[in-house]
Amino acid sequence: MTSVTASPSADTPAPPRRAGGRGAPLSSAALGLLGIVGFLVTWELVVRSGLVEERFLPTASTVLGELRSLAGTSDFWASVRETVTTWAIGLAISAAAGVALGLVIGQSRFLRRATNSTIEFLRPIPSVALIPLASLLYGTSMQSTLLLVLYASFWQVLIQVLYGVGDVDPVASDTARSYGLGWAARVRYLVWPSALPYVMTGLRLGAAVALILTITGELIIGGGGLGTAIALANSGGATAQMYALILMTGFIGVAINLVARLVERRALRWHVSVRREEVA
């Protein structure tokens, strides 16, 4: 999907950002902070004024206080660890499988054409459809959730790798062949660098989807982790705790997005899109 952002008129020199200059980043950070504070104050006021009953939505201060006291318990951190572990294992396996299969399928015209219909059919199947199967096969163990995570993020990575391998410059590919580069050398020096921006996009999307499915699996199937904790707090009527746990899943999501962007920038330091951003 990064290909979409590459605007057709890429030949114009780095577009001058309107109204840049005079300490714009500082004021925009301040405004952002103001936005967060404004949101919390609105939340607090909405509940205090009685617009929403407190037993359905506790005040912002109650929820943040609850989160702070939860952060002092080992149960809470065990849940966080479990969620992050499931997420990481799922993403790692599907990334490895997606990249390997993508490189193999993408470079063979025959395989690409033969697998296209099957991939296009399997990819849109929502992985939550597998929830009953997973819980039948693995019960409430971590494997159930892992199965959902794997299915969901594998396609994200595979599709992007296939796009990436398809985007290799044919002239460069022919040149490499004429110079007698072997299969491994071509992958290493030509295909992999050309496909890397797409691989990174796939990993970023896959990471986000993997978290969604991790929480979903834990919420619906059970078996530990933040999702299960949310379900338990919900059925036990511990409303403030439920909201605190939900906030935590959001923080994990933000952290994952930040890390993914950081990794993307580092891995693509040499790439035109990143270099141009830094100049601008």
Binding site: S27, F39, A114, S117, P124, L133, S135, L219, N234, I246
Partner: protein
């Protein structure tokens, strides 16, 4: 001849896979894996009939209403936020947080706030699916070529005309990418909201099959969800091709070499 090879490419692997499945299950008594023929028969028995009207159609209707609302609201809010600089800076961190929040956690929240009814299920879909559309619209509006904006302004185009003829079309490819994500999230939420708290609908029915160990029926439900996913993706691609035909044309020219 060329058509024949194309058909062979499209059908080859699926046929091989189904044959393989059939051969492997022909003698097996594995409880978890049904035979292809058995599954097809159960699929027809289970889903064609009153259950289609009572469980499948309401689910699909909720999904359609929810995602359409999310797309309309997301694009409208995205256009506003994307074109007003201070508003964007003000809201960006909050929007990033809401996007990062895994949407399924909204199910218990909205259940608490609204209760268990159709409204809650539609709202869950709207709340979950709106973020990718909104944030992609903001990004798309930001990336509009500033020279074109200035030109449009110089020529005295009104705000509304600029929006319709310049901003919306140049943000459209980005918006489409967001809509694609929104659709898959909407589908996930449609199923989850019914699995978590409901007494009807597709998600609920499949879970009932699983809990009562009606394995073949459960598989037929999984197949139905898969078919819905595929149908949604086909409809989306057709719409995308229509709306963005100029964009694909441009890309093809660029890649034509």
């Amino acid at each position: 001849m060329r058509i024949l090879t194309r058909v062979a490419y499209v059908l080859g692997l699926p046929v091989v896979l189904v044959l393989l499945w059939w051969v492997l299950t022909i003698d097996s008594t594995n409880f978890f894996v049904p035979e292809p023929g058995e599954l097809a028969a159960t699929f027809v028995d289970t889903w064609i009939g009153p259950r289609f009207r009572e469980d499948v159609l309401p689910s699909v209707a909720r999904f359609t209403v929810g995602t359409l609302l999310a797309i309309v609201l997301g694009v409208a809010a995205g256009l506003l936020i994307g074109s007003v600089r201070w508003l964007r800076s003000l809201l960006e961190p909050m929007l990033e947080f809401f996007r990062a929040l895994p949407p399924p956690v909204l199910v218990p929240v909205l259940m608490l706030l609204i209760g268990v009814d159709n409204r809650m299920k539609v709202l869950v879909i709207v709340f979950g699916a709106i973020w990718p559309v909104l944030l992609n619209t903001v990004e798309g509006v930001r990336a509009v070529d500033p020279v074109l904006v200035d030109t449009a302004r110089t020529y005295g185009l009104t705000r509304l005309t600029r929006l319709r003829t310049l901003v919306l079309p140049s943000a459209a490819p980005q918006i489409a990418a967001g809509v694609r994500q929104a659709l898959s999230i909407g589908l996930i939420l449609m199923v989850i909201s019914e699995m978590f708290a409901s007494s009807s609908g597709l998600g609920f029915t499949i879970v009932v099959f699983q809990r009562s160990f009606a394995v073949v029926e459960m598989w037929s439900g999984i197949v139905l969800l898969g078919l819905i996913g595929v149908a949604v993706s086909i409809v989306f691609q057709a719409c995308e091709r229509r709306v963005l035909h100029w964009y694909y044309g441009q890309k093809e020219v660029q890649h034509g070499r």
